[in-house]
């Protein structure tokens, strides 16, 4: 069943992930390791923008498996996630068949040829080992979750007309959730659970510097500290890791050498993306940052 090579140790997984620019912390590396060894799906939860989806992509890059992605949304159903019969083609087949008996036609039109494979089906049927990413599973309805159960525990799909299609290779399945609703116990039961949170200052600094290598260490530290300060406020949408990387790149483009109040206010929109949040952040964080070296920054308090 599992031809794909499995990693030997947790450290091996962590190094492989690091080699493809994903700095996994201890739990993330361990769970990825277990998932590959035990063949269990990973359920990743955490706030938006901490690298949940990125973990799946990194696994895909690190293991060389193909990545198949199913983006979930409200109202997603099996026809779009699993498979669908190709009605038009079937109809053509019936018309083209002429005076064949019903039995033959019946056997014929419910054949793999007339099956439209959707992501889940594709992941199962793929002859090559794959990484299956089921993104934002919390956006779907509970019925859809129930449908996933067979897939997640046995890696097989039952098509009434064809029978069971079982996976030939063990896929690595990653489910992500923003925790916008409680997932069912049944689903959780089948998964390994991983909670990803915002990284601490050191780790985030490493991440930022990995993606913006030209950034000096002091500036990177300052940047990450400010981001952490911003996250500490009660915001509608706290800045994600991707946004701190964007900000780092912006600062590089601006040629900033230090983050003072002026640079911060100019580039703040990269980090904070709600009107009310912007007000709050510029009031709380802007104050703490020093005034630009030369001119006294004019107080801007119109709203």
């Amino acid at each position: 069943m599992s031809e794909a090579p499995t990693p030997g140790s947790v450290a091996e997984v962590r190094d492989a992930l690091a080699a493809v620019d994903y700095l996994a912390d201890e739990p993330a590396a361990l769970v990825s390791f277990l998932a590959q060894r035990l063949g269990k799906p990973i359920l990743v939860e955490g706030p938006a923008g901490v690298g949940k989806t990125e973990l799946a992509k990194a696994l895909h890059r690190a293991t060389g498996r193909e990545l198949i992605r199913l983006q979930c949304y409200e109202g997603l159903d099996e026809a779009k996630a699993l498979y669908e019969w190709n009605y038009r083609k079937q109809l053509l087949r019936i018309q083209a068949g002429g005076e064949e008996g019903w039995g033959e036609v019946h056997d014929d039109i419910f054949d793999a040829e007339f099956l439209l494979e959707r992501p889940l089906m594709r992941a199962i049927a793929s002859p090559e080992p794959v990484v299956l990413l089921i993104d934002e599973i919390d956006k779907t309805d509970q019925e859809f979750e129930a449908m996933l159960l067979e897939l997640l525990s046995d890696f097989q799909i039952t098509i009434p007309e064809l029978g069971e299609v079982a996976a030939t290779t063990m896929p690595v399945v990653v489910l992500t959730s923003n925790n916008s609703r409680e997932l069912t116990e049944a689903l959780k039961r089948r998964c390994l659970y991983l909670w990803l949170d915002y990284p601490d200052v050191e780790r985030e600094m490493e991440i930022v510097r990995l993606h913006a290598p030209e950034l000096s260490e002091t500036l990177a530290r300052r940047l990450v500290e400010v981001v952490h300060m911003v996250r500490g406020l009660d915001l509608k949408k706290p800045p994600s890791i991707a946004e701190s990387i964007d900000w780092a790149r912006t600062l590089l483009l601006m040629g900033a050498e230090d983050i003072d109040r002026e640079t911060f206010e100019q580039s703040m929109s990269i980090l904070v993306k709600h009107r009310t949040d912007i007000d709050l952040v510029s009031e709380r964080v802007g104050m703490k940052l020093g005034e630009p070296a030369g001119a006294a920054g004019a107080e801007k308090t119109e709203s």
Partner: protein, 470 residues
């Protein structure tokens, strides 16, 4: 560490069966006791996972267990608490094993006491600055031993921690200037870590001495009780409410699988049949329009519910974030609409200030007058109430002896599609004293006790489970 047969834990356990498997099972049993749903499949997974990791490594062992057993953040929190407590005993056994080593070190320190304290002080400072956990733990043990020999132990863990800290002359940046100028200040975070080690070791000593473990029950009440403090709870409340929003919004979709009460849309079916040469292969249904909930929330802010009203306000706050068609009212003696305040203000503290300040609830006596509230509410919005509207009342139904006007309440209930009552008091207290809950409850579609987010979630579940029929 060896295999389960030569278990380092086994013999030392009082009453517990030897072996890791049994150990893990009883750990899961305790987790269940704390309300974490640990099924057999989880336990099997845990075993499978442990086979894959070098579980002699404390971190790997813990993470592997957590990944397979604790399947939500809340579960994880309980898991951490219990893990520490549960494997305390094993950690204790570990300490016994190392006991010899410690004694040897102890001897070394017995010689010249004063000098060793100085040396120890230096080592501790070094370890703290380096942030080496293992080192810190060992040194904490040494410090306790040295401290104990001087006979200054008070037996109270918290006090001892502080005394040891002081005798080691450890101070954070702010305090350092006062005590000693020459030593560089220590990072507050790091110092706290050392203190945690101290505390753990002291607790372990205490267990060793008295031979009893700290009680395992209170965890459920103490550590997990949900405080009604606003900021802490806000996120949880928001989560519960956004869940409610989803449930209410997709209420119509629930029977999709069964396709109950479908109505064929002839026009759309004919159109679709064009694709298949006029053969209506696919029936098209009239789409089911999800109900757009109109919600009216009435919230009691009088003194009798002071403790709960912060919680209620945060519920209101979260509701406003999620529902567009929502009107909210606060009341004490009279009723006052506060929809605007919630719509224009995002910061919770500001909201609570404005609601209490300019809510204009005619707080003359500070006593709730439910009867009058119903009369006013009905008078103000009777036309708007329809079968689609949901009324939610947050209050304790304590009328202070005034006329409850249950018949007016009945009218409200009749006009509104659904009416729910959330009461911040435990069901036990309902109808005692001046509570007239029973009179109102008869007319409600549901009355719930509600003072934690857990209750709120239960409420959401019940609301969502109710059939759409109005």
């Amino acid at each position: 560490m060896g295999a389960a047969s030569s278990s380092p834990y086994g013999p030392q356990l009082e009453g517990g069966p030897p072996g890791l498997a049994a150990k893990l099972l009883s750990f899961c049993e305790e987790l269940r006791g704390e309300g974490v749903a640990v099924g057999t499949s989880e336990i099997l997974d845990a075993f499978a996972a442990l086979e894959q990791v070098p579980w002699g490594e404390r971190e790997d062992f813990r993470e592997a267990l957590a990944a397979t057993i604790a399947k939500s953040q809340e579960d994880r929190r309980v898991f951490e608490l219990l893990f520490d407590r549960f494997f305390f005993r094993s950690a204790e056994a570990e300490a016994l094993e190392r006991g010899e080593a410690r004694e040897r070190q102890g001897e070394r320190f017995e010689g010249g006491e004063r000098l060793d304290i100085d040396e120890l002080r230096e080592q501790v400072r070094q370890a703290i600055v380096e942030g080496n956990d293992g080192e810190m733990r060992d040194l904490a043990r040494l410090a306790i031993a040295a401290f104990g020999q001087r006979g200054e132990g008070s037996g109270v863990v918290g006090v001892d921690v502080q005394r040891i800290r002081r005798s080691l002359e450890l101070a954070t940046g702010s305090q350092a200037g006062a005590t000693e100028g020459e030593l560089p200040p220590i990072d507050r975070e790091q110092l706290h870590r050392f203190e945690r080690h101290l505390r753990r070791e002291l607790e372990r000593d205490l267990i060793e001495r008295t031979g009893t473990l700290p009680p395992s029950r209170p965890l459920a009440e103490l550590d997990r009780a949900l405080p009604t403090s606003p900021t802490q709870d806000l996120a949880a409340v928001h989560r519960a409410v956004s869940q409610m929003k989803r449930r209410l919004a997709t209420l119509g979709h629930e029977q999709r699988g069964r396709r109950k009460g479908r109505i064929v849309d002839v026009r759309r079916t004919m159109r679709a049949s064009l694709e298949t040469g006029g053969v209506p292969l696919r029936l098209r249904d009239k789409p089911k329009r999800p109900r757009r909930p109109e919600i009216y929330v009435l919230c009691d802010v009088s003194t009798s519910v002071t403790s709960a009203s912060v919680f209620f306000l945060s519920v209101l706050h979260a509701l406003h974030d999620s529902f567009r068609k929502l009107r909210s009212f606060v009341f004490i003696e009279r009723i006052s609409e506060v929809t605007e305040i919630f719509e224009h203000e995002r910061d919770f503290r500001e909201i609570s200030r404005r609601v209490s300040g300019e809510g204009g609830v005619a707080d003359v006596s500070g006593y709730t007058d439910y009867g009058r509230v119903w009369l006013e509410f009905l008078g103000e919005i009777s036309e708007d109430l329809g079968p689609r509207s949901t009324v939610i009342v947050l209050g304790d139904a304590r009328t202070n002896g005034r006329e409850p006007h249950a018949e007016v309440f009945a009218q409200v209930a009749e006009r509104a599609g659904r009416l729910f009552w959330l009461n911040p008091e435990p069901r036990l207290y309902w109808n005692y004293g001046d509570s007239v809950m029973a009179a109102y409850e008869r007319h409600c579609d549901g009355a719930f006790e509600c003072w934690t987010t857990k209750h709120l979630e239960d409420f959401v579940n019940v609301v969502a489970a109710q059939p759409t029929g109005t």
